[in-house]
């Protein structure tokens, strides 16, 4: 690890508090997928609060097929050196050795991601074993709380990555937030049964009911392609937005990236949303999720 020895005696690193805390600092921001140091600098200049370093954006993973794995650490390191904002990277679901390698590299956040080909069809990574924080995808409250139970310090919707179609991210956000609203109205007897039915740890169900929100930060991801998409996710109640293929698969990435950052800050201001939506050039072409074969969908990966 890259500690520079500045720590005082009695300082504690890798705690739940600092792992969840970094996600709190990312709120109200946009995390962008980048494949080169040049992309990373464009993202940082546009105001991204973090970047996700990967070899191929989801749209290309989809188009090219084959097994999608953790990116080359050397490529990730070049991106870490190019920017001062936090850098995230993806490992395969259940592939705890890829996660160990990313931690040894000094990455700021690991995304245990369904966008890559799963390495384990039953188990996710035991994320409590790591000092580096993890973000995981979910489609509903049960899945979100199972991931938090395994140690995820941040949650995102799965959406349907690489499509440019926001419909699945909306579905997943509405599912999680709607379930939390119902949870708040339940009495304690009902919480036990509800926890069993959604296959989530009871303690986390209870904590979520008391807080009226997930115990960790919750971002939108999967299919966000325009400033309006990003503001839609914010108005639905998400804490921030990941944009994958939507920026660097569009006609003018720098301009679109800046517009999406501004849309997330001013998501409640239609006049500013109008201005930032003008003349952005071509959006990514996209794939209509309702016309996709079930087997082509990646949101169903994860258990």
């Amino acid at each position: 690890m890259t500690s520079n020895g500045n720590h005082a005696d009695g300082a504690q690193t890798g705690s739940e508090k600092v792992k969840r805390g970094l996600a709190q600092m990312l709120k109200g921001g946009v995390i962008m997928d980048v494949v080169t140091p040049e992309h990373a600098r464009i993202a940082e200049d546009a105001g991204a609060c973090a970047v996700m370093a990967l070899e191929r954006v989801p749209a290309d993973i989809r188009a090219q097929g084959g097994v999608a794995r953790m990116s080359d650490p050397d490529m990730i390191e070049q991106i870490m050196q190019a920017v001062t904002i936090p850098v995230m990277a993806k490992c395969r679901i259940g592939h705890f050795v890829e996660a160990q390698i990313l931690q040894a590299l000094g990455i700021d956040y690991i995304d245990e991601s369904e966008v890559l080909t799963p390495a384990d069809e039953e188990h996710h990574i035991n994320k409590h074993q790591f000092a580096v924080p993890f973000v995981c995808g979910c489609r509903n409250l049960g899945e979100a709380l199972r991931r938090i139970g395994e140690g995820a310090a941040m949650i995102r919707t799965k959406g349907e990555a690489g499509t440019g179609d926001v419909v699945e991210a909306v579905r997943h956000a509405r599912a999680v937030l709607g379930e939390i609203r119902r949870l708040k109205a339940m009495d304690e007897d009902e919480l036990f049964t509800y926890a069993k039915n959604i296959q989530a740890p009871y303690a986390l169900v209870k904590e979520t009911a008391e807080l009226g929100r997930l115990p960790v930060v919750n971002f939108a991801a999967g299919g966000v392609a325009t400033p309006a998409d990003a503001a839609l996710m914010m108005q639905l109640g998400m804490d921030g937005v990941f944009v994958g293929s939507g920026i660097f698969k569009s006609g003018d990435p720098a301009k679109r990236a800046k517009a999406i950052v501004e849309a997330v800050t001013y998501y409640q201001n239609p006049e500013i949303l109008l201005n930032v939506s003008r003349n952005l050039g071509e959006a990514m072409v996209g794939i209509n999720v309702s016309a996709m074969a079930e087997g082509d969908k990646i949101a169903t990966r994860g258990w």
Binding site: G21, L22, M25, K27, G29, P86, D108, T265
Partner: protein, 188 residues
């Protein structure tokens, strides 16, 4: 008392919750006009580059600088970077109102983020549980600056200059409200 929290990006809701619990009226600040009625301003943690770009693009830099020159302003983490006179990076916009030199990401990457009990001048005998996340440090402070806390390594992590307050850590992430009470006393 009406306290603003700069709400461009970052952990502004956490500050808002603590300030409300202490009885303050809280306004989220996204545009220059939002600053008018305020008795004090908190610049929260978040990504300082993101906050700086949004503040520049939406004409907030000079209004924020004018505000901080005369009215109580507290920066935590990214906010401390924002208040500083010098951060050693020319291309990043800062307010340059407080006589401290700040080093960004001074401890390394996220795996070096930490929590520690810290004695703080003005908060009583009990140490404050301080959470540092990719935190900055002040490497120098001018003669007008009152240093409130140092790590055992002697680096400055909390300081006050008249009506300006800066902390490298995040008091909004722990239940101890003494740091927020301290700021509200400045704003009174």
């Amino acid at each position: 008392m009406n306290i603003g929290v700069l709400a461009l990006q970052g952990a502004f809701i956490e500050h808002e919750a603590v300030l409300r619990a202490l009885g303050a009226t809280v306004t989220q600040v996204r545009l220059a006009a939002d600053l008018e009625p305020l008795d004090g301003l908190v610049i929260p943690g978040g990504e300082s580059t993101t906050i700086g770009k949004l503040a520049t693009n939406f004409g907030l830099m000079q209004p924020l600088r004018d505000f901080a020159q005369t009215r109580p302003t507290w920066g935590t983490c990214a906010g401390m970077i924002f208040l500083a006179k010098d951060i050693g990076i020319d291309r990043q916009p800062i307010l340059s109102v407080m006589d401290i030199t700040v080093n960004r990401n001074a401890f390394g990457r996220q795996i070096d983020s930490f929590e520690v009990d810290l004695p703080i001048k003005g908060l009583g005998a009990l140490p404050f549980h301080a959470v540092f996340i990719r935190a900055p440090l002040a490497t120098a402070a001018g003669p007008e600056v009152d240093v409130l806390a140092r790590l055992e390594t002697q680096q400055i992590v909390a300081a006050r200059q008249g009506h300006l307050l800066a902390t490298a850590f995040h008091p909004e992430l722990t239940p101890d409200t003494r740091m927020h009470e301290y700021f509200l006393r400045l704003a009174r």
